[in-house]
Amino acid sequence: MICSENQFVMDFINYSMNKNLPITANMIMADVIHLDYSLIPIVGRFDIDFGFGNKTVREVCEQKDINIWFFLEILNSYHNHDYFPKKQLQNFSVGLITRYLSNTHKFYLEHKVPEIDLLIDNLIEQAAYENRSNLQLLKTFFIEYVGELKSHLNFENNKVFPYVERLGIAVDTGKVSEKLYRSIRDNSIEKYEQDHDDLEEKLFDMKNLILKYMPPVINKNLCQNLLFELFNLENDLVDHTRIENKVLIPKVKLLEQKILETRENY
């Protein structure tokens, strides 16, 4: 066959990529954290408690009933920004992805945002009187940002993820409703892809407003913590978006294509 050479090259690349994956199933879980401690909150999102002794990644996943391939995909995607999952996409259901992503959304809205909110409130409380109004501006700006973040995440939770899950079920059961078919044609995942990047700008501005134009504060530690948390949040969001773009969307496009093909073969 004409394509066999290309296929061989792709398989070879996949094979060597897998060989070079830093995080593998047989690694000791604790060593994974030692390798990259920024993975701590990621591990937490899978509901994995610390205190896992010398268990391997595989053992921890088995114990917690977590899909080991998916877990490794996520870890490696966060650990290595150039990592591009390909073949492995076939190995897990799309429901796994959406569940992980909505857990992450919960983490942002129920933990990270309130933390940052509290830091800003404390800053304002402890600031000198004449600087309060400027700090209040920052707070208002942050509230606006949170509003936009919330509506974006809720859109994903309430519209995008259910759509994606319906696709998964349709492919598994072989039953495609007319409604779903129309949805694929009219509002496919491509539209969602385009809206993704606007949130980053506001957060970027927030960081710069503090970094460059901050009114003087009395409590420098608070200010440092705030800045740090903002940078962390931004990095996390960037990685999160990357997962959505590189894991979710390609998978969904595959599903959409599959459904359209079977439909056409009727």
Partner: protein
């Protein structure tokens, strides 16, 4: 210590003779050899400070400073933009809008250093507290204000009698200089720096 050429004039303004004499001596001590004029008040300063000289310096004691020193400095700077000013006074005046400030009871090593800085460092024209004002040009500030007030690109173009293309270019420059991308971010910046008032900003 190097001496600098005497195409410089230093005006010493202080009520007390001993202050003026001490300052005169100190200037020579650090190796500056200018023409010196002593006055005991701030009247007629503008006429004394002479454009004929390459550089003009004013050293004054807080005992000649009027109570409304902010407007004095404003006026002085307007009339003598190239004259460097050094104020020697007590600590409560720190932050006055002169080029340099020395506290009365400064130790002598610091005193030497500050005088040297005053004479030998190149003159930066606008040494006001708002260094942000140097960052953006006047035009860019105008555009920033309009953006903060919620005007569209077209409205800004019409208001300032420029093309939309020019508006966009200004906005790009402002974003690049400040590092702020969103309209609300720019609005916060404008509010923080008092370019617009909270009431003017439409929400």
């Amino acid at each position: 210590m190097k001496t600098i050429n005497s195409n410089i004039q230093v005006v010493i303004a202080a009520k007390q003779f001993l202050f003026r004499f001490g300052t005169k001596t100190f200037i020579n001590f650090i190796g500056v050899d200018p023409d010196i004029i002593e006055v005991d008040s701030i009247n007629d300063l503008d006429s004394i400070i002479n454009a004929k000289y390459e550089s003009n310096y004013l050293i004054f004691s807080d005992d000649v400073l009027p109570s409304d020193h902010e407007s004095f400095f404003k006026e002085f700077k307007k009339n003598n933009p190239l004259c460097k000013t050094l104020l020697i006074g007590d600590s409560s005046l720190n932050g006055a809008a002169c080029s340099q400030y020395i506290v009365n009871n400064e130790v002598h090593t610091n005193m030497i250093e500050k005088f040297q800085t005053f004479f030998f460092e190149p003159f930066v024209e606008d040494e006001s507290n708002n260094s942000d004002e140097e960052v953006l040009s006047e035009r860019e500030v105008d555009i920033l204000k309009s953006v903060a007030l919620g005007l569209s690109n077209k409205e800004i173009a019409d208001k300032h009698c420029i093309s939309i293309h020019t508006v966009i270019t200004h906005r790009k420059n402002v974003t690049e200089k400040l590092g702020i991308k969103t309209i609300s971010g720019l609005t916060v910046y404008a509010l923080m720096n008092k370019y617009v008032n909270a009431e003017e900003v439409t929400r």
